[in-house]
C-alpha cells in the first residue's frame, strides 16, 4: 500500500467539506475519484499535498500517510521529497517561463544535476512535443500540451504517488483520451495514481478502482464495471447532493 487516508475530515473555517473519508491507493493502481462540482475533490488533494493551509483550510481529524511520511503534519517540501506529486486543477503552468524552465521547476526539490538531466530526458521521451517546444514560452502551448507539461513537471521529482486534478478539463475528447492513456502507461510502470475526474467515461476506462464522493463522504466504491451503467452514478450524485443540503 502506498497512499492511505483514514477518516479524514477537512474544514475551511467553520465549513466542513470533507467528512470522515478513507481511501487507499496501491502501487501501479489508478483510483478514480468522481463527484459533483464543489463536492470536495480538489480539497482532498490539497490536504494530501500540504497546500490546504494556503487556502485557509485545515485537516481537522484523521490521518494520511504516504510510505513513512505523515502527510497531514509534513510541510510541502517534505511531502514532495517523500515522493508525492500533485498536478493542480487548471494545470497552473507558469506562462512566462519557457517549457523547459517549467519542467525544471518540478525538480527544485531534487538534488543532483545528472539525475535531473536524466529525468528530463525520460519526460521528453514520454511527451515528445514538449522537447520540440522546450525553448518556447509555456503560455503559448495548447491546452493539451500544457496538461502534458503540468504532468511532466510533477514527474520531475520522481514521485511514487501522483495526484491528478481533472486532467481532461477543457480538452478535446481525443486529447483527453491520449493523456489518459499516458497516465495508464505511467501507472503500469508502478506509479500509484489518484485521478480526480469530471469526465466519467474517461475515468472509468482507465481506472482500476472508483470512489464516488458525495456530500463530503465516500458514497460508493468499486470496480469500473460496477458503474458502467450511467444510472448508478446519476443516482449516487443525487444522493450526495441531498445529503449536502440536510
Amino acid at each position: 500500500m502506498v497512499l492511505a487516508v483514514e477518516n479524514l475530515t477537512v474544514r475551511y473555517g467553520s465549513a466542513q467539506v470533507i467528512n470522515n473519508v478513507s481511501l487507499r491507493v496501491e502501487r501501479g493502481e489508478i483510483l478514480a475519484l468522481l463527484g459533483n462540482n464543489g463536492v470536495g475533490k480538489t480539497t482532498l488533494l490539497r490536504a494530501l499535498s500540504a497546500t490546504l493551509g494556503m487556502h485557509g483550510g485545515k485537516a481537522a481529524a484523521g490521518t494520511a500517510h504516504h510510505a513513512t511520511c505523515d502527510l497531514l503534519r509534513a510541510n510541502a517540501v517534505a511531502v514532495v521529497r517523500s515522493g508525492l506529486a500533485h498536478v493542480p486543477e487548471g494545470r497552473r503552468i507558469i506562462a512566462n517561463l519557457s517549457v523547459e524552465e517549467n519542467l525544471m521547476a518540478g525538480a527544485l526539490a531534487v538534488r543532483g544535476a545528472a539525475k535531473i538531466a536524466a529525468r528530463r530526458a525520460t519526460i521528453y521521451s514520454l511527451f515528445p512535443v514538449l522537447a520540440e517546444r522546450a525553448r518556447g514560452r509555456a503560455g503559448l502551448l495548447s491546452g493539451g500540451e500544457q496538461q502534458m507539461l503540468a504532468i511532466g513537471r510533477a514527474l520531475m521529482s520522481h514521485p511514487s504517488v501522483l495526484l491528478l486534478d481533472e486532467p481532461s478539463l477543457g480538452l478535446a475528447p481525443l486529447v483527453a483520451r491520449q493523456i489518459a492513456a499516458t497516465v495508464r502507461q505511467i501507472s503500469d510502470e508502478g506509479m500509484a495514481v489518484l485521478l480526480v475526474e469530471q469526465n466519467t467515461r474517461i475515468a472509468l476506462s482507465v481506472a482500476d478502482r472508483v470512489a464516488v464522493l458525495g456530500g463530503g463522504r465516500v458514497v460508493a466504491q468499486g470496480r469500473p464495471k460496477d458503474f458502467a451503467d450511467g444510472r448508478v452514478l446519476a443516482e449516487l450524485s443525487l444522493g450526495g447532493r441531498a445529503r449536502e443540503r440536510s
Partner: protein, 371 residues
C-alpha cells in the same frame, strides 16, 4: 450552521458614550492649559484619522500621504482667511468662509488624485502616495508667497458670526473664564462628534458596503456592478475632507503653520493611529489618535522624572524619539498579534463584539496568477 448569538448589552455602550461626552464637555471647566492643548491636538488628529480609517481600513486604499490633506486644509485656511503682509499674501475672507473654502478645495485635490488612484491597486498606491508627500512639501517650502516658506505663516483666528474663538474676547460660563483654548475645545468636540457620526452613517450605508467589497476584491466588486474607480475617488475625497477639517482645527490651535507638521513623518503617524486603533474601525481611530498625538507631549512634560531622557544633547533619547519607539512598537505588535487594535478594547468595555477585520481582508486562498 448558526453562530452563537452575539452578546449585546444595549445600555452599556450608550452609557459609556454619554459619560465620555459629559466628561469631555466638563473638562475645560477644570483642567489647565497644558491638558487642553493635549486634548485639542488629539481631537484635530482624531478627525483626520477617521478619514484615513475610511480610506485605508474600509476601502483598502493604502495612503502614506494623509498629512498632505491636513496641510492643505491648514494652509488654505490661512491663505484664504489671512491678511496680506509683507511676506505672505492672503485673501482676507471671513474665517468661516475660509474654513469652508479650505475644505472644499482640499476635496477637489482629493478628486484630482483619482486618475492615479483609479489605476493602481492598494500597494502600488502606497508608493504613489509618497509622491504626493514630496510634492506637497516642496510646494510648502517653495511657494513662499502663499505659505511663508520654511518659516511658515500665521493662522487667522476663527469667528463664526457672534462666536469669537480668538483670545480677543473672553466668555465667562459658570464663573469660569473661557479663553481661546477652552472655546476651541468646545468647537473641536462638536466637530469630532459630527465627524464621527457622519462617518458611521457613511460606512454603515450602501456606499460603505461597496467600499468594503472593493477592499476585499476589486474585481469581485466590479463583478457586483460597483463602479470601482468612482468609489475609489470618493474614498479619496472623503479622506481629503476629513484631513482638511482636522488640519484647520490643528492650525487654529497652534496659530501658526509650518511645513514640518505635514511631512512624511506626520503621514506615517496618521497611519499608525489608524492601525493602532484597529483597521477598519471608525471608533478605534479616536483612541489611536489620542495615544499617538498625546504621547510625545506627555513624555516631554514628564521628562525630568523619566530616566534615560533629558531635554538636551543629541545622542540622548529625546521625548520625540522615545514616544516614536513606543508607538511604532505598539504599531508592530498590533499588526502582528492583534489586528483588532484599540477598537477591541473599546468593544470589551462596551460589551459588543464586532467581527474582527484584517487589513486587506479577503481569503488567504486568493492568489494572484500571472496570465
Amino acid at each position: 450552521m448558526s453562530e452563537p448569538r452575539r452578546r449585546r448589552l444595549p445600555g452599556r455602550g450608550q452609557a459609556l458614550t454619554v459619560g465620555l461626552l459629559v466628561v469631555a464637555v466638563a473638562t475645560p471647566f477644570y483642567v489647565g492649559p497644558f491638558w487642553l492643548q493635549v486634548g485639542l491636538t488629539a481631537m484635530a488628529y482624531a478627525v483626520a484619522a477617521i478619514g484615513l480609517a475610511i480610506q485605508v481600513g474600509v476601502a483598502g486604499q493604502l495612503s502614506l500621504a494623509h498629512a498632505v490633506f491636513m496641510g492643505s486644509g491648514a494652509y488654505l485656511y490661512s491663505f484664504l482667511g489671512g491678511a496680506s503682509t509683507g511676506q505672505v499674501t492672503g485673501l482676507g475672507w471671513p474665517p468661516w468662509l475660509a474654513a469652508l473654502g479650505a475644505i472644499v478645495l482640499t476635496a477637489l485635490l482629493g478628486a484630482l488624485c483619482s486618475p492615479i488612484s483609479a489605476r493602481l491597486r492598494g500597494l502600488y498606491l502606497g508608493v504613489a502616495s509618497l509622491g504626493l508627500v514630496f510634492i506637497a512639501s516642496h510646494v510648502m517650502q517653495r511657494f513662499g508667497a502663499l505659505t511663508g516658506g520654511p518659516g511658515g505663516r500665521e493662522v487667522p483666528p476663527l469667528r463664526l458670526g457672534p462666536l469669537d474663538f480668538s483670545d480677543d474676547t473672553t466668555w465667562v460660563i459658570a464663573n469660569v473664564p473661557f479663553h481661546q483654548a477652552e472655546k476651541l475645545w468646545m468647537l473641536g468636540l462638536a466637530v469630532l462628534a459630527g465627524a464621527y457620526l457622519v462617518a458611521r452613517r457613511m460606512v454603515a450605508g450602501r456606499g460603505g458596503l461597496a467600499l468594503h467589497m472593493m477592499r476585499d476584491s476589486e474585481i469581485g466588486a466590479a463583478a457586483m456592478g460597483i463602479t470601482v474607480w468612482r468609489y475609489k475617488a470618493s474614498a479619496f475625497v472623503i479622506a481629503a475632507v476629513y484631513g482638511a477639517t482636522g488640519g484647520v482645527l490643528l492650525a487654529l490651535l497652534t496659530g501658526w503653520v509650518v511645513p514640518e507638521s505635514f511631512g512624511f513623518d506626520a503621514s506615517v503617524n496618521l497611519l499608525i493611529m489608524v492601525v493602532i486603533g484597529g483597521l477598519g474601525s471608525i471608533r478605534g481611530a479616536i483612541p489611536g489618535a489620542v495615544f499617538v498625538s498625546a504621547l510625545p507631549l506627555l513624555i516631554a512634560r514628564q521628562a525630568q522624572s523619566i530616566p534615560l531622557i533629558s531635554g538636551t544633547g543629541d545622542s540622548i533619547l529625546g521625548p520625540g524619539t522615545l514616544s516614536t519607539f513606543l508607538y511604532a512598537g505598539l504599531f508592530i505588535v498590533t499588526i502582528m498579534f492583534a489586528s483588532g487594535g484599540l477598537d477591541r478594547l473599546v468593544a470589551l468595555a462596551v460589551g459588543t463584539r464586532r467581527p474582527q477585520r484584517r487589513i486587506a481582508g479577503g481569503l488567504p486562498g486568493k492568489y494572484a496568477q500571472e496570465g
